[in-house]
């Protein structure tokens, strides 16, 4: 029951998902629309529970166990609660505030303000650190040890130079050559890889529907 029922559901919904594409019969189309707009959407909305629940559980455990740096977990939980309260009760449209006031004189604590001035700088800066790690890795690890690696390096250099306006000062055809590398040999190799990846995804999807691939069931009976 604990495994068979989910496997049966995955089989039925999987077949339905594929059939809806091929069968233009109005009843199937109508059922498919209900499946997408009601069933999938509402269930997907609840899936947030998994993400938020796991984060909260993780940090609560850290606090309980007084793990290393546990005091920072308070920050995550408090920030989560405050942001959610502001968003849910403060409303989304600035011109139609919710029950919670989000503007005090010229100072705003609206959800979009929090997003633009806290979430965006934090996320964008965190990812911008990659520029430094990449530069350091390029310096330390990128070695032209053989013909293949040298080819990789040359292609990278040409694309890097061709991608910036400075490239055409070196040679007026350099940007066009970089574009050619991307449009012809790169397209060929990426398409070859793409066929492999797509056939892999196709096989995995089929295995999920047929109950051969069961990793998604997780552990337990």
């Amino acid at each position: 029951m604990k495994r068979r029922l989910p496997l049966l559901i995955v089989l039925i919904t999987g077949i339905f998902g594929a059939v809806a594409f091929f069968v233009p019969y109005p009843a199937i189309r109508a059922a498919d629309e209900i499946m997408r707009n009601d069933v999938q959407r509402i269930i997907a909305a609840f899936s947030l529970v998994l993400g938020v629940g796991s984060i909260v559980q993780h940090h609560m455990l850290k606090i309980q166990r007084r793990a290393q740096y546990y005091s920072y977990s308070y920050i995550t939980i408090i920030a989560l609660i405050i942001t959610a309260i502001i968003g849910v009760f403060g409303g989304i449209d600035v011109t139609r505030p919710g029950i919670l006031p989000t503007r005090f004189g010229s100072f705003s604590i609206h959800i979009q303000t929090l997003y633009s001035n806290m979430m965006v700088p934090l996320a964008a800066t965190m990812f911008s650190l990659l520029a430094f790690f990449m530069a350091s890795a390029a310096y330390r690890a990128f070695r032209a040890r053989n013909l293949e690696a040298t080819l990789l390096l040359l292609a990278a250099f040409i694309v890097m130079l061709g991608a910036v306006p400075f490239g055409r000062l070196i040679h007026h055809q350099l940007p066009a050559f970089a574009e050619w590398i991307l449009a012809v040999p790169n397209t060929a190799s990426k398409r070859g890889i793409l066929f492999g990846v797509e056939l892999g995804i196709f096989a995995t999807s089929l295995k999920i529907i047929l109950g051969i691939e069961r990793g998604w069931l997780g552990g337990g009976k």
Binding site: K2, R3, L5, P6, L7, V10, T13, I15, F16, D38, Q40, I42, A45, F46, S47, V49, L50, V52, I75, T76, I81, A84, I86, G87, G91, L114, N117, M118, M119, P121, L122, T125, M126, S128, L130, A131, L152, L153, A155, A156, V159, A163, A183, V184, A188, S189, K190, R191, G192, I193, F195, G196, I201, F202, S205, L206, I208, I209, W216, K221
Partner: protein, 214 residues
């Protein structure tokens, strides 16, 4: 230089610098900013899942007098299935979380199979095949031939079911050449991408905050 007087710009700048401090070494400012980000991001998601899915697609419809009773019961039933996600945190009945996952996963897998075959495999094969139209001019014809050879060579490189002898040997070697050029192109563009992200942050610090860039 005109320093910003907006308190929110200052908060954004301080948070930006807190994250950058990681470049020197891991420190409490970075840890604070990192934990803050996780909290805000989840709070933001809750807001929109609530306001833009649960309210219009579930609560408003169930609460509306114009919705037929059968539809209301149907929507409540779906919500109950959705709520089974909560069981993930109740060990005794945690297996029930498999039911909503099965509905989403099964439908998505089934719906994507025929579409991905058509959209990715068949269309890409069509684009690889050389036709008379490919030779509209000599250049496009030559590039089409190179792409065809490149695709076959790349695939043959990943063909491990038989020993690399005869034609397969040079073909798979040509494959590795194409793959390396492709990876080189990807690396070149990756450099551009990562640098862009840092430029974006400097544009903020030097422009919006410090006012060096107008």
């Amino acid at each position: 230089m005109t320093l910003s007087t907006d308190p929110w710009i200052w908060i954004a700048a301080i948070l930006t610098l807190a994250i950058f401090s990681f470049l020197y070494r891991e420190n409490p400012f970075y840890r604070f900013a990192e934990h803050l980000y996780v909290g805000i991001a989840n709070g933001y998601a809750i807001t929109f899942y609530w306001h833009r899915i649960l309210v219009p697609s579930l609560f408003d419809r169930v609460g509306s007098s114009s919705t037929p009773l059968s539809t209301k019961i149907w929507l409540i039933a779906i919500a109950i299935i959705g709520a089974l996600y909560f069981t993930r945190f109740i060990p005794r009945i945690s297996w029930l979380v498999r039911i909503p996952i099965a509905i989403v996963l099964g439908y998505a897998s089934g719906a994507s199979i025929p579409r991905a075959v058509s959209g990715e495999i068949i269309r890409q094969m069509k684009a690889t095949i050389i036709t008379r139209a490919s030779f509209a001019n000599w250049q496009s014809g030559l590039w089409a031939v190179i792409i065809l050879i490149g695709v076959i060579a790349t695939i043959s490189y990943f063909f491990f079911s038989t020993e690399r002898r005869g034609l397969l040997k040079p073909l798979s070697y040509a494959g590795i050449i194409f793959i390396m050029i492709g990876f080189g192109a990807s690396f070149g563009y990756t450099v551009m991408a990562r640098i862009s992200l840092f430029i974006g942050r400097l544009q903020f610090l030097l422009g919006d905050w410090l006012g060096f860039i107008k």
